[in-house]
Amino acid sequence: MTVQAAIVSPKRVGPAGELSDSLWRNPRFLLLLLLTPPLLWLGVIYLGSLFALLAQSFFSIDEFSGLINREPTLKTYRELFVPANLDILIRTVSMAAMVTIAAAAVAFPVAYFAARYATGRWKAVFYLGIMLPLWSSYLVKVYAWKLILAKEGILNWLVGKLHLTWLLDAYLQAPLIGGNSLSVSYTGTFLVFLYVWLPFMILPVQASLERVPASLIEASGDLGAAPGQTLRHVLLPLALPGIVAGSIFTFSLTLGDYIIPQIIGSSRLFIGQAVYAHQGTAGNIPLAAAFTVVPVLIMGIYLYAAKRLGAFDAL
C-alpha cells in the first residue's frame, strides 16, 4: 500500500471503525438496522393486535353458553344493525358532526385574530392561550365541567342571578337536547366535547390562515367586496384545508371517547361506551370488535377525503 492511498482512504481502526466502514458500504443493511426496532414495535405488536381485534369481529358469541365461536361469520356485523345498536352509531356520529361544526365556528374568529391581527405580546398571549388548554390534563378539563354544570354549580348560580332560570328550565324541557339537568343532557356532553377538542381545531385553522397574505384581503376589499363577501369568497375557501385538518381531530376524538359521555351525559350509550361494556363485563369481544370497525371505516374514508382536499399540508 502506498502512502498516498493510505491518506485518501485511511483505514478505520478497531471493531467500531470496521463496523462503521462496513455500514457505510452497505447502506441497505444500515437501513434495515434502523428500521427493524420501530417496525417490530409498530408493525408487529401494534398492527398485529389491531388485526387480531378485527379478525375477532368475524367470530360470534354463543347466546346460551356465552362462549366465543371461532368460525368466521358475518352474524356479529348483522347485530350492529339491530335498532338499539344502530341508535348508538347514529347518536355518536351526529354528536361528532355537531361538535366538529361548532368547534369550527368558535375556532375561526380566534384563529383569524391570532393569525392576522395579533402582534408582539398579543401573539404570545394567543399562542400560550391555545397551547395551555391544549396540553392541560384531559380529565381535569372534564372535571372542571362537572363543577360548572353541577346543580349547585356556577352556571346555575349565574343563571339564577340573571333571573333566567325560567329560560334554562324551558330549554331543558325540550326533547333530545334537554334532560333533568345540564349535566345529564346531550347539551352537557356536547359542551364538554366542544371545550376539550376546541384547541385541536384552532391550531390548524390558524396555520392555514397565517398563509393568507394580508394583501389578498385588501385586494378583495379594493375590488368592492364587503367584509362578509371577503369572508365568504376569499377567507373561508383558503381556510378550508385547515378546518378539515382540525375536523379530523374533533371527529375522530369524539367518535372514540367513552369517558366524557360516561361522566357528563344521559345514560344513553356512545360507541366508545358500547365497546367498553361489551369487552368488559359482557365478555362479547366479537361485538366490541365489530363496533370498533365503524370508527375505523369512517376515519379511513374521512382521511382519504381530507387528503384529496389537501388538509395534510395544513397540519
Partner: protein, 271 residues
Amino acid sequence: MRSDRQNRAPMGLKIAAAAGLLFLHLPILLIFVYAFTTEEKSYQWPPPGYTIKWLGVTWNRPDVWESLALSVKVAAISTLIAIVLGTLCAAAVSRWRFFGREAISLLVILPIALPGIITGIALRSAFNLADIPFSTWTIVLGHATFCIVVVYNNAVARFRRLSTSLIEASMDLGADGFQTFRYIVLPNLATALLAGGMLAFALSFDEVIVTTFTAGHQATLPIWMLEELVRPRQRPVTNVVAMVVVLVTFLPILAAYYLTRDGDQIGGHGK
C-alpha cells in the same frame, strides 16, 4: 401601503376571539378556586369559605403518591422507548427513499389517528390471547406506541434541516460513523429530541383511555382521577390533585415556549 384602519380588527372579531379564549380558560381557573373551598359534600358555588387544609390532607394520602409515582415511571420509560424508536424511524425515512416509505409515516401516525379506545382494546385482547398478565410493562407498551409519533415528527423536521454535507464533511475529516453520530448528528438533534421527549412525557402522563385497557389493578394518576370522577370519595382531595396536575403541566409548556421563542424569531416567523 396599508391604512391604519385596515390594521385594526373589527369589534365583532375582537369580541368573538376574546370570548373564545375566555371559554378556553375560565373552566381551568375554576379548578384553582375549588381547591381551596371548605365545602366537602357538593360542588357548591360560590364556595362558602376558603381553607388550605386540603393541601395538607392530600399531601398525606399514600394512594395519591403511589399513583403519581407510577405515572412518572411509566411516562419516563415510555418517553425513552419513544425517543429511541422515533429517532430510528425518522433517520431512516429522512435519509433514504425506499419502498414502503409512505406506509411507515402512516404507520407511525396511526396510533393517534385512530381513536384511543381502538388501540386500547386491540392491545388488551392481544394480551389476553397471548396470556400476558397486566403489569407496569403492559401500560408502558401502550403508551410508547402512541408516544413514538411526537418524537418522530420533531426528529423528522430536524433531520430535514440538517444538511447532509455536514455529515459528509465529518466523514471526510476522518470521523467514523459512530463519531459522526456522537459529535455531529446528536448535538444537532438534541433540542428537537428534548422537545419531542417533553411532549411525549406529557402525553403519557395524561393518558387515560388506552391506560384503562392495559393497566390491570394498578392506578396511574389519570386512572385515580377517573375513579374519583365516577365514584367520588373525597371531593376536596380530588380538587387539590386537579389543581396540582394543571400547575405541573403548565410549567413544561411555559418552559418549552421560552426555550424555543428566540429560535422562532430568528426563523422569521414574525409578521
